[in-house]
Amino acid sequence: MTAWDRYWFGPVAAVRPYVLERTVLFLLALDVWMQFVPHGARYGAGDFNVAHFAWLDAVQPPPSPALYVGLMLIVGGLAWVIACTGGNRALRVLLVALYTYGWAMSRLDAYQHHYLLSLLLGAFVFFPDARAADANDGRTKQVSAWAFVLVAANVAIVYVFTATTKTEAGWASGAVLREVTRSSHWFQSMWSRLLTTGLRDDTSWELVARAVALLQIVIAVAYVAVVRSGGGRARWARPLAWVALAAATGFHGSLLLFTIEIRWFSYYMIALAAAFFLPEVVLRAFVALATFPARTVAQSAERWRSVPAGWQSLAVVAGAACIVALAGSYLDLPGATAAGFIGGGAIATMGLVGGLGNVAERVRCMAIAAAAGALVLGAVVHVWPIRFQYHLYAVADLQRRGEPAQVLAAYEKAEPYAPRGQSRQRQIEALRSRLGAHRDE
C-alpha cells in the first residue's frame, strides 16, 4: 500500500467511529427537536423566502411552518433510529438528504455548523457498520474506516479556515472577543481582577485573541495527525491528543458561557474532539455505560423468544407505527400530525418489506427504536417549552406584521404550554378587551 492508502485505509479503533456517529446522531435528534422546531413559524412568513441555492428556489414548494416542523420532526426521528440501531445505508442517505434540505430550503437558517453537520452525516453513510459489541469487545478491535479519517481532515480544514479568519484585524486586536464577552458579568469581573495584576487591557485582549487562533491550528494539526497514530495510539500522539482535547473542550466549552447565538455548535465540536482524542479505554467505558439500559432491555426481551417470530414482528411493528403516529398528533404543532403518520406509515411499510425478506429482526429493532424515539420526543416536548416558544416567536412576528386578532390567536395557542411564571394571560386579556372595544365601536 502507498502512504496515501495507508493514511486513509489504515486501521482505527472501532470504538472511535462508533462513538462519533452515535453521539452526533443523538445530539442531532435532540437538537432538531429542541432548537429547530421552535423557530418553525418564521418559514414562509410574509410570503418571502430565499433558499441557499438558486436552483432550489426554482424547484421547491414555498416553505411553510408545517413543512419545516414536519421535516425536522422526521429528521430527528431518523437520527434517533440510526443512533439506536445503526440503521442501514438507505436510512443514512435519507437522513443526510432531509437534514440538508432542512437548512438549505431557506437562508433563515444561516448557521455554518449546519453545513458541517451535513458533511458529517454524508461521511456516516460510509462509516463501518459497527455495533456496541464490536466497539466494546474488551479488545482493541480495529477497522478500516476511511470516512472516519475523512471527517478528521474535514474538521481540520474548518479549524484552519476559522483560525485564518482570526488573523484579521477585527479578531487579532481582541475587538470581537470584547464584544462577545461584553454582556457576561462574571467574565467582566474576572477580567477586571486580572487587570489588577498590572496587565494592560489592550495587550491582554490581543494576547487572548492570538492564543485562540494558535490553539485552533494546534487542534487542526492534531486531527490529521492523531487519527493516523495507530489503534493503540503511538507515544508521540498521546500528549498531542490531550492538548487538542483540552484546547477544543476549553474553547468550545467556554463559548457556552457567553450569550452568543451558535446553538449547539459547541456540543458537537466537543463530541468530535472526544471521539478522536480521548483514550480508547475511556471511550469503551462510555459505550458500556451508555448501552447498559438497551442491553438490559434486550436481555429481558429474550423471554419473548417463545412467541413465533412472525407474530412478534407484527405486534412490534404495528405497535411502533401506532405510537409514532399518535405521538405526532399529541405534539400539537403544525406538520406534526402529518410527520407522525408518515413515520408510522414508513415503519409499517418497513415491517411488511422486512417480514418478506430476511431482516425481520433488524426491522423489529428499528421499530422499537422509533417507538422509543417518539416517546422521548413526546416527553421532551412536554417538559421543555418547545410549543410555547414556537407560538411566542410567532407572536413576536405577528405583533409587527399581523393584526391584533392574529396575535391574540397565537397567544391563546401558546398559553396552555406556558411554563410556570411565564403565563401570557395578562396580554391575552388586554388584547381581548382591545378587540372587544373595537367591535363595540
Binding site: F48, D134, V143, I157
Partner: protein
C-alpha cells in the same frame, strides 16, 4: 471481505467501500476509486471557502468557516431602507420593512446579503404594476465615527436592470 457480524450476506462492492477488516483492506482498484473521491472532496472543501477570500464582495460568509467574523459581530450598526418609485416620482415611497418582512430577513438585509436584497427588490417590483423602480440602501455607522460600509442597490422594474453602488463612508 468478511461477512457482516450480523450474519448478513457478504457485502457488495458499495458496502465494501466502508466495511473491511483492518487485515483485509479494500482491493487496489477500490482503494484507487475511493482515493480519487477523497481527493476531489477535499479539494472542494478547500476551494469553497477559498472562493470567499478571492471575491471582491465578502458579505456571503456561508461556506467560508468564518465563525465570529467581523460581519457576524460587526463593529458598526447598519440601518436599511427600501423605497419604491412610480414612473413620475422623484421621491420614493418608503416601504415599511417591519410590516413586510420577518425580522430575520431584515437582519439579512442589514448584513447586506446580496441574494436577499436582490430577491426582495424583485418581490417589491412584482407587488404593484405602478412600481417602476425599487431602491435599497444600507448605511452603517461606527461608534468611533470611522468609515463604515454604505451600499445602494436600485432595480428598474421595467427592464430588470440592477445598478449598485458600494463605498466606505
Amino acid at each position: 471481505v468478511p461477512s457482516s457480524p450480523r450474519g448478513e450476506a457478504a457485502p457488495t462492492t458499495a458496502r465494501a467501500l466502508s466495511r473491511v477488516d483492518a487485515t483485509a483492506p479494500p482491493a487496489r482498484r477500490l482503494r484507487r476509486l475511493v482515493g480519487l473521491a477523497i481527493a476531489a472532496h477535499l479539494t472542494f472543501q478547500v476551494v469553497l471557502p477559498l472562493r470567499y477570500y478571492l471575491r471582491e464582495n465578502r458579505r456571503d460568509e456561508r461556506f467560508a468557516w468564518r465563525i465570529f467574523s467581523a460581519l457576524a459581530i460587526p463593529p458598526y450598526h447598519c440601518d436599511v431602507r427600501v423605497q419604491e418609485f412610480t414612473d413620475d416620482e422623484r421621491i420614493g415611497r418608503e416601504v415599511d420593512l417591519s410590516r413586510t418582512l420577518h425580522d430575520a430577513w431584515i437582519a439579512s438585509l442589514r448584513q447586506g446579503q446580496d441574494a436577499v436584497v436582490e430577491r426582495f427588490l424583485h418581490a417589491r417590483c412584482g407587488s404593484s404594476s405602478l412600481v417602476a423602480a425599487v431602491e435599497f440602501s444600507r448605511l452603517c455607522r461606527r461608534e468611533d465615527h470611522a468609515r463604515a460600509p454604505y451600499m445602494r442597490v436600485r432595480r428598474d422594474c421595467r427592464s430588470g436592470a440592477v445598478s449598485a453602488q458600494e463605498e466606505l463612508r
